[in-house]
């Protein structure tokens, strides 16, 4: 607590209890507990996963920030570190895993590929960033990000958590949060939210092709 805050403290604490009692807000203590025991999901996609493992290992050791408990099950995890290239074949699984995580849940997009496709963006089975399907809280740049920048990202996430409030948090609101519709693998990846657009554009394409064909026939 800074000197400034101590002077403006609204509560009178008797001198003999000063060393035993601390007064804080509910949000602060709630967020303090949450942000110092973030359990990531044990879930590696590509190259970045190796650096994530290196961050968990002895030299960088993210257990110093309360994150050493990697959970293989999404049901027990707080944060999903999307570490690597997201492909069209994998994104249905990622969305399903995200839907299975209990609130409060967070997503870190680790590395260029997860942020926006990265060096493989132009590839035909690469999703241009995981944020096209699931909401991302922290983006970490790099290919792959060094363990230091992953740590920086995780601390940024902690700072974000510390600013949240029980009163406005979505996981205590009355309406349950809706699961994200799982993408479908057809001739290409299909987002169920965009079926109308797909139908429209393919019809337009067909119309253009038949028009072309008629021109050729003439």
């Amino acid at each position: 607590m800074s000197e400034q805050e101590r002077r403006t403290e609204p509560y009178e604490i008797p001198e003999e209890m000063k060393s035993q009692v601390a007064v804080t807000t509910l949000d602060k203590i709630y967020n303090w507990g949450r942000s110092n025991s973030v359990w990531p999901m044990m879930f590696g996609l590509a190259c970045c996963a190796i650096e994530m493992i290196a961050t968990a290992a002895s030299r960088y050791d993210f257990s110093r920030f309360g994150m050493e408990v990697m959970r293989p099950s999404p049901r027990q995890a707080d944060v999903m570190i999307v570490s690597g290239t997201v492909t069209k074949k994998m994104i249905p699984t990622i969305v399903r895993l995200y839907n299975q995580m209990p609130e409060p849940k967070y997503v870190i997009a680790m590395g260029a590929c997860a942020c926006g496709g990265g060096p493989f963006k132009e590839g035909y089975t690469v999703v241009s960033g995981v944020d096209r399907f699931i909401p991302v809280d922290v983006y970490i740049v790099g290919c792959p990000p060094t363990p230091q920048s992953l740590l920086n990202g995780l601390i940024t996430l902690q700072k974000k958590m510390e600013q949240e409030s029980i009163a406005t948090s979505r996981w205590y609101s009355k309406a349950p949060s809706q699961p994200i519709p799982i993408p479908v693998l057809g001739p290409d990846l299909m987002d169920p939210r965009k079926f109308d657009l797909i139908r429209q554009q393919s019809a337009a394409k067909k119309a253009a092709q038949t028009a072309d064909g008629e021109v050729e026939n003439e």
């Binding site: 590696g44 190259c47 293989p72 074949k89 994998m90 290409d188 079926f195 797909i198 393919s202 394409k205």
Partner: protein, 580 residues
């Protein structure tokens, strides 16, 4: 000719089969072109009479201007010697080739890949399905007339990504503003997704073949793609009877990031950083193989100092890879994370050296055609010397002391996942998997590349072909790598590190080449076809772990579920390379 001669000389196929085979006389090409209908007979003769027992690589090339698809086979003898190449050519509109799976079971996954990406149908293949993309995917992406959704131009460098000084995003060119494209007139609601039906059908076919007369119930269990044991996004579908595995299908493609398609648009040098991301634990080895393949085409030779530094980097990479492999094998056996921690600690020290020489920890992008990107500083040499002469031998011994005689390790690994030498060769296994089965084949010895003929080292091999021997082979290989490193550091000469001037756009003459190295996980090869332009016409990676996975199912049959996890760990896969 005596038997010994037929088994050691390179056969003149066109004189042996004058009606069936003609030499490939295109400028810059080697090998022979075989008539499609006689492929099986020629391949059988090569295998049985001439001793080419291991089918290393099967891939296809799309020669769009000639209207032909070509299937390229690379075979070698496990007794050593250069690689032998033969091809078949089929018309593009009806590409049907007899499958080599009956002769070489190791062709199974590779033929599926060629079918998936190029649309070549292999007649007689037991299970010809898509492998890297999914059932229902539109088109065969590696065909030259197939365009990806973000297609801009045929080849880089693109004319402009900054029209009138404005940055243009790839999304702006696509009607969906996303990396997707659909056939004309496609209705998403009418589609019934495949949902793995084809996959499960092939599995249950096996079950019915086992018990045709009685109705038995087998359970299908999916392991992956998200699973703590599977070293990334790899999936195994196991058919179980009780806890016994009846059959198993590896399912991959969850990390298929279109390496080959992107590479065929890139210029030659632009591909170097992409090779880092294949086997991302061993990026320097990938650089090495690609540089060798291009240098063969260009006909350049790197200077002495560069050769030594290359060997130093490749061997350090091997040590990193094996430390990680052994650590994660123990992870799979249940010793969660502690052995890996020991391995990763050493990796950090080696990665520091990579960072010193190349500027990056993992994705080094260090090799150039005809040399290296940067010189190795005296501090880096000094640090490597300290590591190699003092620390690494101690740490390898420490690993050995903790693990080799450990009772649990021995009970879980000995006699599990056995691969006989005959099977290992037939299934095209390479690297530690092949050597643990008792076939002492190492490209560094069999067809020495770079300056490996100057070093004194032994080829580690096992005798039993089980998980334990694969572990022992890796431990011994680390020791041999330290031995090579000591010699290389002792003899490291001064001098230039680059032949000629560094150039962004190298001139590569037309032709084909196959560069291969003994990567930490097996024979890593790059098959390149150049037509004289700044971009490769065909760029294929012979990924060792992808092909080693062919032997996963035969090794697992009859075992328990828990063994499969350990067997997979002992193959040591890296998904970046498996799926590319």
């Amino acid at each position: 000719m005596s038997d010994l001669q037929t088994q050691t000389l390179v056969p003149q196929l066109d004189t042996i089969f004058p009606d069936w085979v003609r030499p490939d006389d295109r400028a810059g090409y080697q090998g022979y072109i075989v008539e499609t209908e006689h492929l099986l007979a020629v391949a059988k003769a090569l295998r049985d009479t001439y001793g080419y027992d291991l089918l290393s690589s099967v891939t296809g090339v799309d020669y769009l201007p000639e209207g032909k698809l070509e299937v390229v086979y690379h075979v070698f003898r496990t007794t050593g010697g250069p690689i032998f190449v033969y091809k078949v050519q089929v018309p593009r509109d009806n590409p049907v080739v007899p499958s080599l799976v009956p002769l070489y079971p190791g062709a199974e996954l590779q033929e599926r890949e060629a079918y998936d990406l190029l649309g070549i149908r292999f007649e007689g293949h037991p299970d010809l399905r898509r492998i890297l993309t999914w059932e229902g995917f539109a088109g065969h992406p590696l065909r030259k007339d197939w365009h990806e959704p973000y297609f801009e131009e045929e080849a880089k460098p693109y004319k402009s990504r900054w029209p009138e000084g404005q940055v243009r995003r790839a999304e702006d060119l696509n009607p969906f503003a996303d990396n997707v494209d659909y056939p004309a007139g496609f209705d998403p609601e009418s589609l019934v997704p495949d949902a793995d039906d084809t996959l499960y059908k092939t599995l249950f076919r096996v079950q019915q073949a086992q018990h045709p007369e009685i109705k038995t119930d087998a359970i299908v269990v999916n392991l992956g793609p998200q699973h703590p044991s599977t070293h990334g996004v790899f999936r195994m579908v196991a058919l179980l009877e009780g806890e016994k595995i009846l059959d198993l299908k590896p399912v991959m493609g969850y990390l298929h990031r279109n390496h080959e398609k992107i590479a065929e648009r890139n210029t030659f040098l632009q591909n170097m950083p992409f090779t880092d991301r294949l086997d991302y634990i061993a990026s320097m080895s990938n650089n090495f193989a690609y540089a060798l393949a291009v240098e063969k085409l260009m006909g350049v030779q790197p200077p002495e100092r560069a050769e030594y530094i290359r060997v130093i980097m490749a061997e350090l990479t091997r040590i990193v890879s094996h430390f990680i492999a052994v650590g994660f094998l123990l992870n799979d056996l249940g010793a969660f994370f502690t052995p890996s921690l020991y391995g990763i600690k050493e990796r950090e020290l080696i990665v520091d050296i990579f960072e010193m020489v190349s500027g990056s920890r993992m994705m080094c992008n260090y090799f150039r055609f005809g040399g290296l990107a940067r010189d190795m500083s005296p501090e880096a040499v000094q640090k490597t010397k300290e590591l190699v002469n003092d620390r690494l031998p101690r740490k390898i011994d420490e690993f050995d002391r903790y693990l080799t005689e450990n009772e649990i390790v021995r009970q879980r690994c000995e006699g599990v996942g056995v691969l006989t030498p005959e099977d290992a060769i037939a299934l095209s296994a390479t690297g530690p998997v092949l050597r643990a089965s008792g076939v002492p084949y190492d490209v560094r010895r069999a067809e020495p590349y770079s300056i490996y003929d100057r070093f004194d080292f032994d080829v580690a091999y096992g005798l039993h072909g089980d998980i334990y021997d694969r572990y022992l082979v890796r431990m011994e290989e680390m020791r041999q790598s330290v031995r090579i490193l000591k010699q290389a550091l002792r003899d490291l000469p001064e001098g230039p590190i680059m032949t000629g001037k560094p150039a962004y756009q190298v001139r590569v003459p037309a032709g084909e080449s196959y560069g291969r190295v003994e990567g930490p996980k097996g024979e890593l090869g790059f098959y390149l076809v150049s037509n004289g332009k700044p971009n490769p016409w065909r760029y294929h990676v012979r990924a060792p772990t992808f092909i080693n996975l062919t032997s996963l199912a035969p090794m697992s049959r009859g075992g328990k579920v828990a063994d499969v996890v350990a067997i997979l760990g002992s193959i040591d896969i890296v998904l970046g390379e498996v799926d590319r």
